[in-house]
């Protein structure tokens, strides 16, 4: 799945360059718990989260996660966008809930980690 597909499926806004060529989205993981996210060894992952702070971007950086989708209308701050661009992480946001966004993406063929 590509970033443009995710944006279309969950009506998401893109906050950074999409990096379509460099990094694909193969699986997704939904969590607000960053310690849980750090246990994952999966590549090409989309993180779906309602945790909207700089540590979400830092966690993605440490876990080599290229894509983050913020749910429930959470908008990343300028500082988060700046760090994400520096670390080449794609940020998106949707007004949908975590449950709805996860369900729609799963139904569209995006695989879960577990």
């Amino acid at each position: 799945m590509e970033v443009k597909d995710v944006c279309k499926i969950v009506d998401a806004q893109l906050h950074t360059p999409s990096r379509e060529k460099e990094c694909k989205i193969e699986k997704a993981f939904s969590s607000d718990l960053m310690s849980d996210v750090l246990t994952l060894l999966t590549d090409n992952l989309l993180l779906i989260t309602g945790l909207n702070n700089i540590q979400t971007v830092r966690t993605a950086e440490m876990g080599d996660i290229c894509h983050i989708l913020f749910v429930r209308g959470k908008q990343p701050s300028e500082k988060m966008i700046e760090l994400a661009k520096e670390q080449q992480i794609v940020l998106m946001s949707t007004s949908y809930s975590m449950f709805k966004a996860s369900g729609l993406l799963w139904a569209a063929g995006l695989s879960p980690v577990y």
Partner: protein, 146 residues
């Protein structure tokens, strides 16, 4: 090669800065991706612990022939029961740590999972030292041990 970074207590907005700098260094040294990932996850969890639970400290990393040697040390107040702290789900996290998405009692077990050797030296009222080893060439590491 030796690198050292200071970690300030309570500086939540900069949590991850030291781990990020170390990640850059390890990538520049062309270490395998899985080794870099294990090291930075262990470092990031440690950094969050130092910021949230201690009076401040340092993280020191030595890149040796076949392994990374990491020492995270703080100036207190120490861990009362290390065995209990190692058990998954046990946490003394503050609200600030939980707001960052941490504090579910997974930090130390996650550090253990990502390292080949982990030693936590601490006692209540004293400092804490966390020593970690990550091998990046298992064959040469075994050769050295034999």
């Amino acid at each position: 090669m030796h690198f050292e970074f200071e970690i300030e207590a309570g500086d939540f907005s900069n949590a991850g800065y030291a781990s990020s700098q170390i990640k850059k260094i390890l990538k520049q040294l062309n270490l395998p991706n899985n080794v870099v990932k294990k090291a930075v996850v262990a470092l990031f969890e440690s950094e969050v612990n130092v910021i949230g639970h201690s009076f401040g400290g340092t993280v020191a990393i030595d890149v040796e022939n076949d392994r990374l040697h990491i020492l995270v040390s703080d100036t207190g107040p120490g861990i009362e029961d290390v065995d209990l702290a190692m058990s998954e789900g046990y946490s003394t996290a503050t609200k600030e740590i939980q707001e960052m998405g941490f504090g579910a009692g997974m930090g130390l077990p996650n550090i253990k999972k990502n390292t080949d050797y982990l030693d936590i030296r601490s006692q209540a009222g004293d400092h804490t030292e966390i020593e970690m080893l990550i091998h990046f060439n298992q064959e040469s590491a075994k050769d050295r041990q034999s």
